[in-house]
Subunit: 258 residues, 4 copies
Amino acid sequence: MSSQAASTTEPIKVALVGATGKMGQHAIDAIHAADDMELVAQLASQSPLADITEAGATHVLDLTVPDVSSDIAEFAVANGLHTVIGTSGWTENKREVLQRQLAEQPNVGVLIAPNFSIGSVLATRFAAQAAPYFDSVEIIEMHHPKKVDAPSGTAVRTAEMIAEARQQVGVGPSPDATEHDPDHARGAQIAGINVHAVRLAGLEAHQEVLMGTPGQQLVFRHDAFDRSSYMPGVLLGLRTVASRPGLSYGLDSYLDLD
Amino acid sequence: MSSQAASTTEPIKVALVGATGKMGQHAIDAIHAADDMELVAQLASQSPLADITEAGATHVLDLTVPDVSSDIAEFAVANGLHTVIGTSGWTENKREVLQRQLAEQPNVGVLIAPNFSIGSVLATRFAAQAAPYFDSVEIIEMHHPKKVDAPSGTAVRTAEMIAEARQQVGVGPSPDATEHDPDHARGAQIAGINVHAVRLAGLEAHQEVLMGTPGQQLVFRHDAFDRSSYMPGVLLGLRTVASRPGLSYGLDSYLDLD
Amino acid sequence: MSSQAASTTEPIKVALVGATGKMGQHAIDAIHAADDMELVAQLASQSPLADITEAGATHVLDLTVPDVSSDIAEFAVANGLHTVIGTSGWTENKREVLQRQLAEQPNVGVLIAPNFSIGSVLATRFAAQAAPYFDSVEIIEMHHPKKVDAPSGTAVRTAEMIAEARQQVGVGPSPDATEHDPDHARGAQIAGINVHAVRLAGLEAHQEVLMGTPGQQLVFRHDAFDRSSYMPGVLLGLRTVASRPGLSYGLDSYLDLD
Amino acid sequence: MSSQAASTTEPIKVALVGATGKMGQHAIDAIHAADDMELVAQLASQSPLADITEAGATHVLDLTVPDVSSDIAEFAVANGLHTVIGTSGWTENKREVLQRQLAEQPNVGVLIAPNFSIGSVLATRFAAQAAPYFDSVEIIEMHHPKKVDAPSGTAVRTAEMIAEARQQVGVGPSPDATEHDPDHARGAQIAGINVHAVRLAGLEAHQEVLMGTPGQQLVFRHDAFDRSSYMPGVLLGLRTVASRPGLSYGLDSYLDLD
């Protein structure tokens, strides 16, 4: 959404860690293009973290890898810097350690976002809200053929959120009379939801959630055509994190959806 | 969602007005199939309304036409009956008159639902919530070729809700460099949103809301294959209306979405 | 396509066998609605076949079950009647027997059509023609949740035709780097093509064939919303069979596609 | 399709004119990646054409602009070089002039391709073949919002080809009961076919052709995600043009579709 208000105040001074990766390259372009931000430091995963504070950063954007992400977050919080993290591998244990550290820095905000795509986050949330009203729910995820895992992490999370929403109100499993499926055409069952994984040259990252009940169908489709699609979520995180002290998990906690 | 709780109590005694129309026929089947409901009276649009009270109804389902709908509602409220109305043409003026009458019957609930399709109502609401996060929004509605109006009423309402949501947060119009469109291929502009109407043999009632921002697209698609798709919404209305005194407008007010 | 020419000549006198099934009921309506046809006899699966000749039929439409279909065809050909068969289970052996019988009746035509949906037949044929030009091909079939087999027979035939077309020109398998798929999210492999089966309340019979190559995707989607969708194919068969002596297999042999 | 045969013979020596444009840049990459081709010259639109012959080219690839394309083709044919042209603006008049010149060079082949996307060309051809079998046909084209014309040239050509195919067999217009459409939601009528143009941030170039008849729908969808999607068509043209003397118009004339 609009950022006019922000642009009249001090710019957000961002130190980017993980600047040499593909996501990092996109982030450099996106921060440069944002009127209300200044990119004060670009670090590789193994750069000395002191470069962050020496550059006068107020915010840290961590786009590195699981192994080093904890150290970066610890350093940032210790120095009172608001931090946006796009690294996977933040288990509940690691998040608890970070939360304890944040308790001593009551003004510092940290966002851990496993998925920066606003459209994908919205689609997953809406799917979970709608799922209890339909008899059947299935998920089709479609990706480029270089992907090694099936189904995608996003599809797994979507299935889990849908299953949880249906269980809370006592909705049973989707009806399915299949008796004969020798080759597993019905796909994977994740938390009781059938999930199908398509791999197709030309595609990037796409997901459809299909819901049906007699006489009607509701479909949520999200297409991520390239990594630039993550940048609005990254910028939203950087603009919001200072006003949300403590640990936030998932970009949806920053979206205004009520 | 589940209705187990309701089925252990007294059945909902429904008088259906408008039983001879197509929607009425579907409603008869749906109420008969519901464990927690009893169809105590079936009236044509012009039947004497006293049949409703003589049959011992606790709820009225009005599936008639705009001309007679006001009288039916007035009669039902005067007799303390909860009322679910699926008739169009309830202008703000008419709703105000009904609201004054309801003020004198503080235990009576009335639901006016221009659209009983839960999927359609959900899709429209989600589209309005998501629209501020995308640069572009357009609507494609697709219907059977016997439809005389273009675009559909649902598409108009969807466009208005999306436009309002975008204006509230200061999002500008969708980008559009079109200079040359001699035959109106860009469709209608409804509240500033481009709306396209397809008419195709074989289809019934379908709508896609497309949203895009660099690198990604989010699509909400709803398909209503036949009128049976409206029945879950009708039943939800009948099950909920007694617990919502006063006037409710739109089925979404009964959905649990927060 | 248009049948103006036919309507000025003698009507096609149809004996329908299998009149009591769901397809049979649709066929009765469709033949009655056709200007150029007359329904001279309606037989159940077990009716005496002599009813066909006594009614003066020139054409037989067989919508029965595999067990009796061979006897019906043998009787019809022996009596010089053109025959359209919509029964499954016509193996290569059975077709050869019928072909030998037809050799003695050089003016009689028989069509065996495993699928009467013109749209489905066209989509399958086009998919096979296009498949050699794309790196990747996958199939998603979607049906009502009462279906007991997965994947559908149509999906299997589509996969086989696509695989054959690709082999003929030496195109290799679709690229796929999947290493980790513990729950079979990648679906079935039919003739080397990945096939996914969705079961969803509200749906009837739908199929998508997705093809991709760097930078582009081509999708063929067919939706059969109800059994009336088969009737144009049935009528096309009845109108064409007399002009195609011998045995024709598959409705596509009657479509003008070159 | 496969090019194994070609790779054992002399490489195709290509001179590219229009090397500085976006399409030209993609073509450079594509030719370098092709085992059976050699890029012997790269010319800007205004480079001296003698550079082509001096470099020893056997083929010319013209990706320039309408103003200079005629001169390039004339030069190439005069020098006995096979030529693939991806420039628009080749009117019937200009093509006739070129055909007369080719009559004097009976071994030289020229391909003029208004659209190099194999998927798009296939979708358009299949749509024209299928259209006579359906009551209704409509087109939805979707592009990035910087496009200045609506509808797209591809949509116009698709509509014209569909209309021609339907007229040849006497199929009437799509049924349409629309009486009230004050804002042109029904879109453009091109050759009697309704065409809708969507402009959406995030999209590149996409087209859906929808066909319907009672009970069923057939949809052809093509997505061009970026300009690399044109390169397989460019390479196919270069590999085939020498074996097709004279003037060929449209990439579909090189596809094996019968």
